[in-house]
Amino acid sequence: MAAFYSLILVLLLSIAGYFGGSAAGTFFGIIIPYAAIAVFLVGLVYRILLWANTPVPFRITATCGQQKSLPWIQSNRLDNPASGTATVIRMALEVLLFRSLFRNTKAEIKDGPRLVFSERKFLWLAALAFHWTFLFILFRHLRFFLEPVPGCVLIAQELDGFFQIGTPILYMTDLIILAALAFLLIRRLADVQIRYISLFADYFALFLLLGLALSGVVLRYFIKTDISGIKELAMGLVTFSPAVPAGIHPIFFIHIFLLSILVAYFPFSKLMHMGGVFLSPTRNLANNNRTKRHINPWNHPVKVHTYEEWEEEFRDKIKAAGLPLEKV
């Protein structure tokens, strides 16, 4: 049901973009994108500041390898970092390569009973493929937002179209992102466990991204809309002299409207894992707990049972047992 509702919502948004764009180009091409960017920036900054200003009272590193202890025991610097540098490397592997997700296995009970573990790398692969291609596609899109277009952007798209298939040349990232998103969606729907835990928001993000990618693909390969017009619009936005040129295909308004929704929705959703992954205290702290004292900014005093109270309560018994007393 959640999947269905979110699909419907994304379809409705697309329809709104399609017809709205033709009827009210200024609203869908200028006002909404500006509003979305504003919401994104303000919302994201707010959320990050909220996290940043919430203290980390304890150093709760999750250690996934041998600690640094005795000099003759080889420690695992990447999975159990003891220094800042090693922690940065651990984080980099986490953020750039999704190292923890790479560990994924599947546990199944087979006859015997035997608990059997098997490799499950597809989630990791699809996640990695999606995130990297999405970043690459965003980077490629800079050709619409920068004038003159920097060489690196041109090189990126040349690489992406390396195989020179079709006209316009097919970007590999377009295929990969659609495949990865499709896998992630099908996995959510087909696996009963994952379907059980999936919420409206989970499907919504996926459908939004799929809609975004599909409308882009249609624009480039099928409609072949006039891209100089689109660049004009994009440039207008980024140079604060917005205008919507005539002749832009309505599908383009689906594309930009879904993007606006995604961007505006971002700070209020699970998509904030983009920033959150950097702040996770089980990953971004070195396991140097016993070497370096971690300070808790609110280390409230608590009621304790002191030695004096203890000795007072058990005085006779301590005495009888012949154990030393502080106050004889």
């Binding site: 150093r59 025991i73 573990f117 058990f314």
Partner: protein, 539 residues
């Protein structure tokens, strides 16, 4: 088990198909064998915790305070402001499901709410409802009102998590379910919903200094009893030092070591080792508990109980602290003690009096793990070890959750075991080291009324033991955790009969050749050793 005891064959028939019902509608059934009894009023009261009363989870009326909802919501707000971990973990989960089958309780029960992601969602759904804008949309946003049904669900599932942190290893954002469960339990404690298996030890420990409530004279008796046993076995006379001022080292152990079996043999092991190397140390009857069930109650309670350690070290004027074999104790000592009750500037940097090794990884906290200490002794040839004395033991090693995932203490115990035992076998790699499976009864859940759940939760661990038992004839499961030693024997009897449970220092002491000892024919348990081909080797 419940009335009709489930056989292992029955228990393992697990249906992993989740119910069709929307999980946002709370359903919880307190079935015998799957939950723990409530905290007894006397103990709740002694600790000045809220709402002491007579009640049980099976009661329909939990006798909550009238404003309980507000108390919980205020408590959540306070914790969202105090713990970045909590706020972040509420916000960023994408429900990718990588954690699902990493939880021993999920593997063993098939209950979808035992998937770590769901355990967090139980709390997250309320967080969304009251602390986010989207939550006003209700179910569509995965939000729900806080009501008694939700609270009961929290109780059931937060006391069905052993805070082992295995799921956190696999989470792409390092979301730590232990953190969620700890906060969840703190919230439950605010309205007086706790379990007696946690609250009674906490109350005893607060008062007397150990979980069982053993008073100072009883403490002394236990230690002397152990010394007598040792004299009988080895012919060596030992006088256990207690509350000895000016000793070089304060030795902290979990109290189970002196009142429970098989922990007891590990205690004998420490005593024998320290006698052999002539260590100047002392036990403390006041700080007679390394274990800290505060960890299973609230952060505040951790601090209240843990305060005794540094206080006693200061009072006795020791140079540094040595800690025995215990799992969650080491999570507290390693990740909380210095922050909560430090700085320990009255202590000295730990240096082994025998080898001169400076324990640089303990420079600030000034507390060294016994396995680090002993591994260093062996490495520096300070011990004479006859590993053949353990030839009747085919040994495997269970990494306890906390030393594994809070410290990364993997090689030190293995080094000792390999030196002390000729037959050592590892369990499959998905079940050891950072991927180790919980005993199924940590975090205060090791009580008899919870037996079915313990057997379910312990299944993955037991199954890995069965593998090495079948393949190599493993008959001893060694570990460095007092809760393990208490709960694994039951688990082994159920799933892998024929495997005993023991400590690393028990095995070491079996093999330890002591100056002036009488010929050893039995190990510390009184079991016959194999007599053939006993060779003495210098480690």
């Amino acid at each position: 088990m419940s009335e009709e005891t489930l056989s292992p064959e029955q228990l393992v028939q697990i249906d992993y198909t989740p119910s069709k019902k929307n999980w946002l509608d709370p359903t919880v059934e307190f079935r015998k064998g799957t939950y723990c009894y409530s905290g007894v009023a006397k103990h709740v009261k002694y600790l000045d915790l809220p709402n002491p009363r007579e009640w049980q989870p099976t009661d329909s009326d939990w006798k909550l305070p009238p404003d309980w909802k507000q108390i919980i919501l205020d408590g959540m707000k306070e914790r969202l402001e105090k713990y970045r971990s909590f706020r972040l973990f509420m916000d960023i989960c994408v429900r990718c499901g990588a954690c699902a089958d990493k939880c021993h309780f999920y593997v063993g029960s098939g209950d979808p709410k035992n998937m770590p992601v769901m355990r967090a969602e139980l709390l997250r759904s309320v967080y969304r409802r009251y602390f986010t804008a989207a939550g006003k949309l209700g179910k569509l946003a995965g939000a729900r009102d806080l009501d008694e049904g939700v609270l009961k669900e929290w109780f059931y599932y937060f006391y069905q998590c052993t805070e082992c942190r295995r799921c956190s290893v696999f989470c792409p954002y390092g979301i730590d379910t232990a953190e969620i469960t700890m906060i969840g339990r703190e919230l439950l404690n605010l309205v007086g919903c706790n379990i007696n298996w946690v609250i009674e030890p906490v109350s005893n420990c607060f008062r007397t200094g150990n979980h069982l409530g053993i008073q100072p004279h009883g403490f002394k008796d236990s230690m002397e009893f152990a010394a007598e046993d040792l004299e009988e076995i080895t012919g060596i006379k030992i006088e256990p030092p207690i509350n000895k001022k000016g000793a070089e080292i304060l030795f902290i152990i979990p109290s189970a070591d002196y009142f429970a079996s098989p922990h007891y043999y590990t205690l004998l092991g420490y005593m024998l080792l320290f006698k052999e190397i002539g260590l100047d140390y002392t036990f403390s009857a006041f700080a007679g508990e390394g274990g800290n069930f505060g960890l299973f109650t609230s952060h505040e309670m951790i601090k209240r109980l843990n305060a005794k350690i540094y206080e006693e070290a200061k009072r006795l004027g020791v140079k540094w602290i040595l800690g025995g074999e215990c799992g969650h104790m080491w999570r507290v000592m390693h990740q909380y003690m210095d922050t909560m009750n430090g700085p320990a500037d009255f202590l000295e940097e730990p240096v082994s009096p025998l080898t001169g090794t400076r324990f640089e990884n303990a420079l600030s906290t000034k507390m060294v793990h016994i396995c680090e200490f002993t591994a260093d002794l062996i490495k520096n040839n300070k011990l004479k070890i006859d590993a053949s004395r353990n030839n009747h033991r085919k040994v495997t090693f269970h990494d306890s959750c906390n030393p594994a995932r809070a410290l990364g203490l993997f090689e030190e115990p293995r080094y000792i075991l390999r030196k002390a035992c000729n037959y050592f076998y590892e369990m499959p790699e998905n079940t050891i080291r950072e991927q180790t499976f919980c005993c199924g009864a940590g975090a205060g859940l090791g009580t008899d009324e919870n037996l079915e759940m313990r057997m379910r939760g312990g299944f993955p661990r037991a199954n890995a033991v069965k593998y090495v038992h079948d393949k190599y004839g493993v008959n001893l499961l060694s570990c460095i955790c007092a809760i393990d030693k208490a709960t694994l024997p039951t688990l082994m009897d159920y799933w892998v009969p024929g495997v005993e449970v023991g400590g690393v220092h028990e095995l070491l002491a079996n093999a330890l050749v002591i100056e002036g000892e009488r010929e050893r024919t039995t190990d510390l348990r009184g079991d016959e050793m194999e007599q053939s081909g006993a060779e003495t080797t210098d480690a």
